[in-house]
Amino acid sequence: MRTPGGVLLDFRDVHTHYGALHVLKGVSYEIREGEIVSLLGGNASGKSTTMKTVLGLVRPSEGTISFRGQPIHELRTSEIVKRGIAPVPEGRRVFPRMSILENLEMGRYTRRSEPGWDEDLERVFGLFPVLRDRRHQLAGTMSGGEQQMLAIGRALMTRPALLCMDEPSMGLAPRLVEEVFDIIREINAQGTTVFVIEQNVNMALSIAHRGYVLQMGEVVLTGSAAELLESPLIQKAYLGSGA
């Protein structure tokens, strides 16, 4: 069902609650095949909840989420991942007391009975040579930047259709952030659709095709990356309107 340019992920009118708090208030966006789409927002915008909702860790109280036309918002996480969505979680969440190789093996868990381990591994090592050098090192002993590479590599092991990245720039020095975003562009060029949830507007829009801006649980702005970068509204959305 691969329709180049067709809609891969359709997030429609989703509301979520955290206890009594209404977090997402009717959020809609779509991601088309081959794109890099960025969901932007500051603190308390609700963007962290978005990825959890896509992955099934949080259930929407209203609205639907569809992947390749099939609803996924009521499926279990393991099911959703099997269908081709791979997460790079906020804060990396690598398995600290397992080696790089073992982490990558876990990344490929849903395809563990399928052949192609060597090719998948090579592809990841090709993108991240530092992982090849340290393949037996325990993930918990690596630096933040290296863990981020591992987290991305781990997600790529399933050859996902959609790579979901939650705040890849968090906690990284600016130079590393640039490197990471260069790699994201590379991954996209190799054929993976990428969904980047980010706080760092400029970096995200430098690689995305399109973007959505979230504020207080609602989408307040959307457009192509170029449009958004030019727009004075972005600064307003983040820093508030002038006195």
Binding site: S78, V81, K82, R93, F95, E102, M106
Partner: protein, 310 residues
């Protein structure tokens, strides 16, 4: 000079005991590692295992035969005994998880632990009511060969068999956990359950598997008890359990090598301590170790995570 062989004897005895505690502690620590639950019922499953073993031997007609077996029939009997008992205790563990613990999976605090205390009491009393309060003789399957080591110290065939079986089980477990994908999924779940879910790992199934393995190991440990001591009773889960629990905590709760190390340490403490200070004080010694570890070094000898205040 003559004191040394006494010490050596106690070391040999202690290591054999330690094997048993290690097997029991392993199952307990695996469950803790994955769902952070102190599972009291684990030790009652252990106790139940001895009765399962008794029943199996009864059904195989072994208890009726008064001479001990040797050679191929012995090996076959042992294998059958271990396999069946471990299977039954494993399933018992799974049953406990599904019925009593899964409904409480998202409840924080001590409610799940209290539930395991209840389950422990239920198991203990079911055995008491079924088999009666008096100690039951466990058939001595293994011939009573012994070999001198030094002076009066000797090592028995029983102890060698237990060492061998224990080592085999631990090697198998180690291979399972370190090298198979399923074992790695278990480790991943213990380290970060949400991230494991995001990898597509079915955490519920991993929990069930952990309970099965842990309880099966308890079953193996229970047979050690029966074969080594030659008896069993409804109350054995209690004393042996607390010692295995201390082993797990001492070694580092959640750590598999820690459980083995802890078990051996406690076994040695029991036999050497019993020799030097007096058998009736071993309980106090072991409890004191427990309290000291929990208060001064909660992460134990090899543990990685100290249990944090919520």
């Amino acid at each position: 000079m003559s004191g040394l062989d006494v010490v050596l004897q106690q070391v040999v005895n202690g290591l054999a005991l330690g094997m048993m505690y290690a097997l029991l502690a392993l199952g307990f620590t695996m469950v803790y590692g994955i769902i952070e639950l102190i599972n009291f019922s684990h030790f009652s499953v252990f106790m139940t295992g001895t009765f399962v073993g008794l029943t199996v031997l009864d059904l195989m007609g072994v208890t009726a035969v008064s001479r001990s077996l040797s050679g191929l029939p012995l090996v076959a009997t042992l294998i059958a005994l271990f396999l069946v008992t471990m299977l039954v205790t494993g399933l018992l563990g799974v049953l406990i998880e599904r019925v009593c613990l899964r409904p409480l999976r998202n409840v924080s605090g001590t409610a799940p632990m209290i539930t395991t205390i209840g389950v422990a009491f239920i198991l203990i009393n079911l055995m008491l009511l079924t088999f009666g309060p008096q100690a039951q003789r466990f058939p001595s399957l293994l011939p009573n060969w012994r070999w001198p080591l030094m002076g009066t110290a000797e090592i028995t065939f029983k102890q060698l068999v237990l060492f061998a079986v224990g080592l085999v089980l631990m090697v198998v477990l180690s291979h399972l956990v370190k090298r198979t994908t399923l074992g790695k999924a278990m480790r991943a779940t213990a380290q970060d359950a949400d991230a494991a879910r995001m990898m597509g790992i079915d955490v519920d199934r991993v929990v069930v598997l952990t309970f099965f393995l842990g309880s099966a190991l308890a079953g193996a440990g229970s047979l050690f008890f029966g074969l080594y001591y030659g008896f069993t009773g409804y109350y054995i889960g209690y004393t042996t359990g607390l010692r295995a629990f201390t082993s797990a905590v001492l070694g580092g709760i959640g750590s598999i090598p820690g459980a083995v190390l802890g078990g051996l340490c406690i076994g040695l403490t029991q036999s050497l301590g019993g020799q030097l200070i007096g058998v009736k004080w071993t309980d106090v010694m072991i409890f004191s170790i427990l309290i000291f570890v929990m208060v001064l070094r909660p992460s134990g000898l090899l543990g990685v995570r100290a249990p944090q205040k919520a």
